[in-house]
Amino acid sequence: MKWLKSFGAFWYDFVIGDDWRLALGVVIALAVTCLVTATSSMAAWWIVPVAVLILLPASLLRAVRR
């Protein structure tokens, strides 16, 4: 059980890192891009860059305020 816990903690730290909100934001941005490309003919390439413009400063702000 202890081994499983530390195995899980390692992968969480490896993939998610210090701010889980960044990871969640990326998943949401990619899901929205998938949805837009699947349901409309609208250009969707800008969604991920816009997400980066929002996610990175927000994460930095949280880190600085801490």
Partner: protein
């Protein structure tokens, strides 16, 4: 060599140099403090064997996944990694987080290694030196393997990515063992900043492409995305530096008024 191949080589090489510097620092601390290079080297060999098994299992699996899904998955992961690296690099460059200091890490590992007791198991005469080296090589190597495999499979050039990764590891290991100390002169923080920009750029590009979006100008869009990510990151460093100075002078003013 095409522009995409150069970008692939440089990205993988730089990322692997950063990880290799960290791994070599740990191995050097383990071997030199415990004065048991044999156990430390068995740890290195053990870590490399486990890594080779993971790569052998993961590599062929990646080539089976359809390119669109691979780009979505890999783009997402690279973007998460890239943003985490950039976040740390920006915090360090703006003075909100201590700079990554290999000399300090070496000293810390040195002190813990000196304090630990000595036990032997099987062919390993010093279990502490073995586990320290094993973990260092495996954990840092996993990132190297992930970056090399994902970049290589996305660009359909795993051999070039592997050459870049191996070159980085060999150069850093040779340097580390030649000086028998932490590679303190490597501009590690600057390299992490550049790698963060590269991972974020490729993450944005492949992630959006994998999600079904078409970039204006196709692959040429990378030449626009990369400088924009770099400018944005540098802009954030400037903003955070100014914010830090303002809050420090406000604190100093308050202290003056109070006294």
């Amino acid at each position: 060599m095409t522009g995409a191949a150069v970008a692939l080589f440089v990205s993988v090489f730089l990322a692997c140099v950063v990880e290799a510097v960290e791994a070599v620092t740990i191995v050097l601390a383990a071997g030199s403090v415990r004065k048991d290079w044999r156990s430390a080297m068995i740890g290195v060999a053990g870590g490399l064997i486990v890594l080779a098994v993971i790569i052998a299992a993961l590599g062929p699996a990646l080539t089976v996944i359809p390119l669109r899904w691979l780009r979505l998955m890999v783009g997402g992961l690279l973007l998460i990694f890239g943003l985490q690296w950039l976040r740390k690099a920006i915090l360090r460059a703006s003075g909100h987080k201590a700079l990554h200091d290999e000399a300090a890490i070496f000293a810390e590992e040195y002190a813990s290694a000196q304090a630990a007791g000595r036990t032997s198991r099987g062919i390993v005469s010093d279990w502490y030196a073995f586990t320290l080296s094993f973990k260092g090589v495996l954990l840092e190597g996993l990132e190297v393997a992930f970056i090399a495999l994902t970049f290589g499979s996305n660009q359909h050039d795993i051999p070039l990515a592997a050459i870049a990764a191996v070159a980085a590891v060999v150069i850093v290991s040779a340097l580390g063992f030649a000086i028998r100390g932490p590679i303190v002169r490597a501009p590690e923080n600057a390299m992490k900043f550049v790698v963060g920009i590269l991972l974020t750029t490729f993450g944005v590009f492949w992630g959006a492409e994998g999600a079904g979006a078409d970039w204006p100008g196709a692959d040429a869009a990378l030449l626009v995305v990369a400088p924009l990510v770099a400018l944005f990151a540098l802009g954030l460093v400037v903003v955070l530096k100014r914010a830090g100075r303002t809050s420090r002078s406000a604190t100093a003013e308050k202290a003056t008024v109070a006294s």
